[in-house]
């Protein structure tokens, strides 16, 4: 069953008794609280070089001076940062011996998503017999990538193996002091991915499949760094459509993308973390900083499908530094029950002839609140910058809310900025029309929602799009009575 906050607290408390910090550095979980010692201990645990430890400490010191932001259109009980354990080694022991022990509700959802049995086991934390298929597939992937000189590994491994790249780029797009949660992440991140595509290389595969096979669980403070060298291309998929019932309530990830001259990065996310129960209890707080830097003629596209989390606070952004660079943001954010999402993007135009496109689709149901917040900023030297924004909201029922907060700052008079916004409601007439054609209400809603989201779904890689479509249906199940 899903963890309630109380159970979570209890578990953390008992764990603290179980493992004393100084007596057992090999423990799976660190004691609660955050201090310089903890930051050093995390770094040590990961056998990091000194520069990395220093970098983390700098972040920690900045974080201490900072205050948790309150400007987002969300209300929640602020986490007690001294009541969180900041390091938890990946649990190698399977939680269950067979699928029979797993929450049937979770399995039913897997079923609906069409996830294979082996994968179900993996996701639910069931012991998996050696799956020859996955192993060999993973090996093949690794080989193909290596042949092209592509580096794709965990961030910890990258710090060990490719320190020069990490040192050069980490924090170059999202500095440690960027914001409260970015600073926290910089101090304590324990997991994440690293990807480097060499000059002129076109990554031959979507980096998701590999990712999904190799990464069983996600960390609480993930750090992702993707570097596309000059003229290279990569499509990166993050997340999983399968529901993640993570025990960690607070998630504060940082993702940095660097697209050097003429490079292109497509970054797609499907996020389906536990949103809390129907009464709005429990659920993940997702406070993410995602930003990409475009050099000359480079292009970064963010595509996201957000259906999970109790509170989401997330603005994948593009800094269009190089001339002729392009930034894109395509987003579907679904909120149901008591979920709250404040999400959008920032497009910062610095270079000449830079272009950005924003397509945001917000779907609110239940008693949820869904806000789009976006900034389009045109610097004084950004001649001929162009932006097109479209923000559409779809409401279901009459107890939810949709909000749009577009900010535009244009300091160059050659800028062309367009903003379009619509709000619509799924009408009873639409539902009856579908019913009359033999389509039941649940399916009718799925159809209408998919139609509404089509422009964004089309941007996802094919295989992911089909899953995302199913996910939208499931997220809104039972939301119209």
């Amino acid at each position: 069953m899903a963890y309630t906050e109380e159970e979570l607290k209890k578990e953390l408390e008992t764990k603290e008794y179980e493992y004393g910090f100084y007596t057992d550095i090999e423990s799976e979980t660190f004691p609660k609280g955050l201090s310089e010692e903890i930051v050093i201990a995390i770094s040590k645990k990961k056998e990091e070089p000194e520069w990395m430890t220093e970098w983390r400490l700098e972040a920690f010191r900045v974080w201490q001076q900072m205050e948790e932001p309150e400007w987002a259109n969300v209300t929640y009980k602020k986490p007690d940062f001294q009541d969180i354990s900041y390091y938890s080694a990946p649990n190698k022991k399977p939680k269950y011996e067979s699928l029979d022990e797993v929450d049937p509700e979770l399995l039913a959802t897997f079923e609906k998503l069409g996830i294979s049995l082996e994968e179900q086991k993996k996701l639910a934390g069931v012991a998996v017999d050696i799956v020859m298929d996955s192993v060999s597939v993973a090996t093949t992937f690794k080989k193909t990538l290596a042949e092209k000189g592509i580096i794709f590994c965990s961030i910890s491994e990258a710090i060990q193996e490719h320190p020069e790249l990490v040192k050069k780029y980490i924090g170059s797009v999202v500095p440690q002091k960027d914001n409260f949660y970015a600073a926290l992440n910089s101090a304590v991140f324990s997991d994440g991915s690293f990807c480097y595509i060499p000059k002129g290389v076109r990554c031959p595969m979507e980096l998701s499949t590999y990712f999904r096979i190799n990464q069983a669980g996600t960390g609480q403070f993930e750090r992702t760094l993707v570097i596309a060298d000059e003229g290279s291309y990569v499509s990166y998929l993050e997340g999983c459509t399968a529901p993640s019932r993570d025990e960690n309530q607070l998630h504060a990830a940082v993702v940095e993308l660097i697209a050097l001259d003429d490079a292109e990065i497509k970054y797609s996310t499907v996020q389906n973390w536990f949103p809390g129960d129907k009464e709005g209890k429990g659920g993940v707080f997702n406070f993410v900083t995602k930003r990409g830097l475009c050099e000359k003629n480079a292009k970064i596209s963010w595509t996201q499908v957000e259906t999970g989390s109790a509170v989401t606070w997330k603005y994948p952004s593009c800094v269009l530094k190089g001339d002729n660079s392009i930034g894109e943001f395509y987003s579907i954010a679904v909120t149901n029950n008591f979920q709250q999402a404040d999400t959008g993007t920032k497009m910062v135009h610095l270079g000449k002839n830079t272009k950005s496109t924003i397509i945001s689709k917000g779907i609110s149901a239940g008693q949820s609140q869904n806000s789009y917040r976006g900034l389009v900023q045109v610097n004084s030297r950004a001649e001929n910058a162009r932006n097109f924004s479209q923000c559409d909201s779809l409401l279901m029922g009459n107890r939810c809310g949709a909000h749009t907060f577009p900010y535009i700052e244009a300091k160059n008079k050659t800028a062309q900025i367009e903003h379009e916004a619509t709000t619509s409601k799924i009408g009873e007439d639409q539902i009856f029309y579908c019913n009359q054609r033999g389509i039941d209400t649940e399916k009718a809603i799925a159809l209408i929602v998919n139609g509404f989201s089509k422009e964004v779904l089309n941007k996802l890689p094919m295989e992911f799009a089909v899953e995302a479509q199913k996910l939208l249906e499931i997220s809104l199940e039972g939301s119209v009575g």
Partner: protein, 258 residues
């Protein structure tokens, strides 16, 4: 099964229905047999569209008394989609828009949902394509039209033609055309009527709801009924429609009072 063969396609007995507490239908009796086309005429507010909605099962309409059955099967407790699966089709007076959902996708979903309800597999793609090609030719529909979002930005004529295209795709037993002629110019009317005529058959029945005689010149009914104040006040052959055209409805209203 044999019983069904003898029962009427649609049987309505003493039907009373209200919406938001307001009585609209006040005792309708109607029998429609397979192979027949019935026209229902009447002035504004007489209850024509309500009757269509009640047959289709729209929730706001509350059946207070009486019964309605399709091929002998009582419809009262069935949802709109269940009625659709049984073969009830309503061509809407005001078809709704569904942005981002193409006509093809909508039809594919509708057909497969009906098949699912009958325990059948999804229709194979090649069969679906063949059906679409066949029916779009029947109704002189440009296939480009089918990839457009359902009714979004459609002209009045396109919307109505799309309704009849859906009817052709779903092959209903009982089709109700609710003011299909409204908003159509004469050319569009002819195309739509031709389409409907091609779909007439001995195993299905059609109810045409209209204000005007005009449509009935193209879709010639077997019976004409006049609805006034929630009741059928007169029934007759297609000549009744001509008579109405000539005299208007007032003489019938007076007749009911007497």
């Amino acid at each position: 099964m044999d019983n069904k063969a003898y029962s009427n396609m649609l049987q309505i007995n003493d039907l009373h229905a209200s919406v938001e507490g307001k009585k609209i239908l006040k005792g309708i009796n109607l029998e429609v047999k397979a192979g027949e086309v019935h026209a229902i005429m009447g002035p504004n507010g007489s209850g024509k569209s309500t009757l269509a909605s009640v047959i289709a099962g729209k929730e706001e309409f509350e059946v207070k008394k009486g019964s309605l059955a399709l091929e002998g099967e009582d419809l009262e407790d069935l949802s709109p989609e269940e009625r659709a699966h049984m073969g009830v089709f309503l061509s809407f007076q005001y078809p709704v828009e569904i942005p981002g959902v193409s006509v093809t996708n909508f039809m594919k979903t509708a057909i497969n949902e009906s098949r699912k309800a009958k325990g059948l597999e999804d229709m194979p793609a090649n069969q679906m394509l063949k059906l679409i090609r066949e029916k779009s030719e029947l109704l002189e529909i440009d296939r480009k039209f089918l990839s457009r979002s359902l009714n979004e930005g459609f002209s009045g004529g396109e919307k109505k033609r799309n309704e009849i295209f859906q009817m052709a795709m779903l092959e209903p037993k009982l089709a109700i055309l609710d003011e299909t002629d409204s908003g159509l110019d004469i050319d569009a009317l002819r195309i739509v009527a031709n389409g409907v005529n091609k779909l007439r058959g001995k195993d299905n029945a059609i109810i045409v709801i209209t204000h005007y005689q005009r449509l009935l010149e193209y879709i010639v009914p077997d019976f004409v009924h006049v609805l006034h104040d929630g009741k059928i006040v007169k029934s007759g052959s297609k000549n009744l429609a001509l008579e109405l055209e000539e005299k208007g409805y007032d003489w019938l209203k007076q007749e009911t009072v007497v």
